[in-house]
């Protein structure tokens, strides 16, 4: 299992360049540094709900949306945020290729008003490729708060392209932004982009090869830029050019000869190949510095002192890790505690109307078996999924999104980086792990922010060790049932909260352990470089958070669960009611799995539920309930207490509860995640590894715990 181009997914990235559009539609690329509010600008322009958050690297693929302005259609493409277009990583390559070869009618570079100097570096790099640029200086509200003044007119004059101040979160300045885009795409503005000139020797070298480059590429790509890249010895760009335009620069003897001459000229003038890039990059940095010095004034030099004070606590030696754990426990506690009441109200309601639904179906003249399938099979599973999953998700998601918006996740990565380094993994794996809390498939896609293929694979293979939203309700329900009775009164949620926190922590430890094992065996190597931006804290917008997290995440996950739960309920009902040799299919299957299930401290029905839950982890508990009720006494259950009775009646002990939680944490990823891993790695072998590694870990842990419990006579 070697690391090849195929297994790192660069083939996936190619298909993202093609944009379908009607004649007359204008394609607008939205680029910018990571974490400057690019996705917020995108959402505000297109009315779409691309996920936003205050941490670098959240947009890893090109998202597309439409926007209509002054009677014209614009297709907005949100390309990954990058610091540079030097194509050091997969996402930088996507960004650069889209700007170069996606033929956008204009490029909007979104920049952060509070950190303009660093952002201008990318603006200058893009201006070297294309003239059709509009600079959007976003987050002007944050800049005002920090007393940072920007002379937009002067900046625009110096850059030679429109510069528009915006506050995308409040939709300020977006009309002006689109006006400028409209003007640029229609040739209504005279663009006079800044020309960056390098050392005399470099300029001379460019002149040697530029005419030949112009001849070969025609007007299709900026030939000065291509000449600079060729002198830089950037081999990727030659490949990209031939892939996207069919122009073969590598095979041209004339160009090769001129390039040799130009490089010799550089050497004669004291510019060694390794100096070339230093000189060109440094020049851009210096120009950005000059521009910033002339157009930005800091009225308060201490403008980020509050951020530093917060960081001194949140990432301190003493408080850093405890605060992190406490925040996790607090979120889980609020979720457990807060979900109780709405869960039982929802259950009362949904199971309460079951009779009504029965009456309606039976009175319509449907046969009894159809009624049973629909009500006892599909409806009950659905009712369970909704009443148990909706409340915790509706609490957990907004709380998590709050921390995300605030900018806490990069601090988590900062705090945990040393552990990941010791596991020979990438520090940003902490970020992809956090994404996994939302959804493992999203976490796997998020691994694109990791540049090194080896570390990216490790992050992909271990992402499943953090419980996603589909699994949190299972963990919460079971811990409340089996560990909830320990302490009564106001603290009765404390023990289940600690149990779930413990499971999450255990998952993180396993992540680190498996990462290390992989690094020492099949994915040998040293940790690669790591530079992580700690963005300024931003005031979260509570209203937005609630709306976004409920509509984008909660309803999405719930919708998926419902879509799968209904047919799964149907399958279970049929299996429970179709008998072979007087024994139902369900029992046949469970009996077959029973010995192995017992060995793991669980039973056959539970294992079957995990297997049938492959399409979506959300339905594992509903399947367990369905199978118990279908094969035994039909219990009316509508609270967790009733569920406890059902589980007790089927022989569950604390050991069963614990092992179900652990196996839920560590087993094969859901179907969607596996499919995503297949797509991202481009390799069936790694997909199988992603299936096998957590399953093996789960089996091993459950075996050990079950055996230990039996030996010590605890269960």
């Amino acid at each position: 299992m070697g690391l090849t181009n195929r297994s790192t997914g660069s083939n996936v990235l190619q298909e993202e360049l093609k944009i379908e559009c009607a004649p007359g539609d204008k394609i607008i690329a939205l680029s910018g540094n990571p974490n400057v509010g690019k996705s917020t600008v995108f959402n505000s322009l297109t009315g779409m709900n691309q996920h936003t958050g205050n941490w670098p690297g959240k947009t890893v693929a090109n998202a597309r949306g439409r926007c209509r302005h002054r009677g014209r259609n614009f297709i907005i493409v949100d390309i990954p945020g990058t610091y540079s277009l030097m194509a050091n990583s997969a996402e930088e390559e996507i960004a650069r290729d889209f700007v170069c070869f996606g033929n956008p009618d204009a490029v909007v570079v979104v920049t952060d008003a509070t950190c303009l100097e660093r952002n201008l570096n990318l603006v200058l790099q893009i201006l070297e490729i294309t003239d059709k640029v509009v600079v959007c200086v976003n987050l002007i509200d944050e800049a005002e708060r920090k007393k940072i003044r920007i002379d937009f007119a002067e900046l625009s004059r110096r850059l030679g392209v429109p510069v528009i101040p915006t506050n995308a979160r409040r939709k300020k300045g977006l009309n002006e932004l689109m006006d400028a885009v409209y003007a640029v795409t229609n040739g209504k503005i005279r663009l006079n982009p800044i020309k960056i000139t390098y050392d005399k020797a470099i300029e001379q070298a460019v002149e040697i090869i530029q005419p030949e480059v112009r001849k070969l590429t025609g007007g299709r790509i900026n030939n000065r830029w291509v000449a600079l890249k060729l002198l830089d010895g950037d081999e990727h760009i030659i490949g990209s050019i031939s892939r996207h335009t069919g122009i073969d620069l590598a095979g041209n003897a004339n160009l090769a000869a001129l390039l040799g001459k130009a490089k010799q000229y550089l050497a004669e003038n004291g510019i060694k190949p390794e100096d070339f890039r230093d000189k060109t990059v440094s020049r851009l940095v210096t120009v950005a510095e000059e521009l910033s010095r002339e157009t930005v004034t800091f009225e308060n030099r201490q403008y980020n002192s509050i951020d530093r004070k917060i960081d001194r606590v949140l990432t301190s030696k003493i408080f850093g890790l405890p605060v992190m754990l406490a925040l996790l426990a607090m979120i889980l506690w609020l979720t457990v505690e807060g979900a109780n009441l709405p869960s039982s109200i929802l259950a009362d309601f949904l199971f309460g109307i079951e009779k009504k639904i029965s009456e309606i179906i039976l009175s319509s003249g449907s046969p009894a078996w159809l009624h049973d399938i629909l009500v006892h099979g599909m409806y009950r599973t659905l009712a369970w999924v909704v009443s148990v999953m909706l409340p915790p998700m509706a609490i957990f998601f907004p709380l998590f999104t709050f921390l995300e918006d605030l900018g806490y996740l990069p601090r988590v990565a900062f705090n945990l980086d040393n552990f990941f380094k010791k596991a020979c993994a990438h520090g940003k794996q902490a970020l992809t792990m956090c994404m996994g809390f939302g959804c493992n498939a999203a976490g796997v896609i998020g691994c694109r922010i990791i540049e090194s293929p080896r570390e990216r694979l490790i992050a992909i293979l271990t992402n499943n060790f953090v419980p996603c939203n589909g699994r949190f309700p299972t963990l919460i329900a079971i811990s409340v049932i089996f560990f909830g009775g320990a302490i009564g009164g106001a603290f009765q949620s404390a023990v289940p909260t600690l149990a779930v926190t413990g499971v999450v922590l255990f998952g993180i430890i396993i992540t680190l352990l498996v990462s290390r094992i992989l690094s020492k065996t099949v994915l040998k190597g040293y940790p690669s470089s790591f530079a992580l931006e700690l963005p300024p804290y931003r005031r979260p917008q509570i209203g937005r958070i609630i709306i976004r997290s409920i509509f984008d995440r909660t309803l999405f996950v719930l919708g998926r669960a419902v879509a799968i739960a209904a047919p799964a309920g149907l399958v279970i009902w049929i299996m429970a009611n179709v008998a072979v040799n007087d024994i139902s299919l369900l029992k046949h299957a469970a009996d077959f799995l029973e010995p192995f299930g017992r060995l793991l401290g669980m039973d056959g029905y539970i294992l079957m539920a995990f297997i049938l839950g492959l399409p979506a982890n959300e339905i594992v508990i509903p399947i367990i309930i369905m199978s118990y009720t279908a094969s035994g006494a039909m219990l009316e259950f509508d609270t967790l207490k009733d569920l406890k009775q059902l589980l007790d009646a089927n022989g569950w002990t604390w050991l069963t509860g614990l092992n179900v939680m652990l196996f839920s944490l560590m087993h094969f990823p859901c179907g969607t995640t596996l499919w995503t891993i297949r797509k991202e790695t481009g390799s069936m072998k790694w997909t199988l590894a992603a299936f096998a590694i957590p399953t093996a870990a789960g089996i091993a842990v459950c075996l050990i715990i079950a055996a230990a419990a039996r030996i010590f006579g605890l269960a």
Partner: protein
């Protein structure tokens, strides 16, 4: 301490220094340059992570965390 040249990872928290030399090469060198770490850039060490590594530096208006391996290959002159 003023004027002496040290690797960036040895810069005490709260102190500023000027970049003198990048000793890294390849992609890491490019990344450092992209962050604006060219000679004479002023950087300030502002925070160590709980376990002492990585360290956050204030570079050209942004806060960037670097592992000691990368920071150790950047030579700076203390201000």
């Amino acid at each position: 301490m003023k004027g002496i040249t040290i690797p960036l990872n040895c810069l005490p928290v709260g102190k500023k220094a000027k970049v003198k030399l990048l000793r890294s090469d390849g992609i890491i060198r490019r990344r450092m340059l992209d962050l604006g770490l060219i000679p004479d850039t002023v950087v300030e060490a502002i925070q160590k992570s709980p376990s002492g590594d990585p360290t956050a530096y204030y570079i050209r208006g942004a806060v960037m965390a670097l592992r000691s391996e990368e920071a150790g290959r950047i030579l700076v002159e203390m201000a």
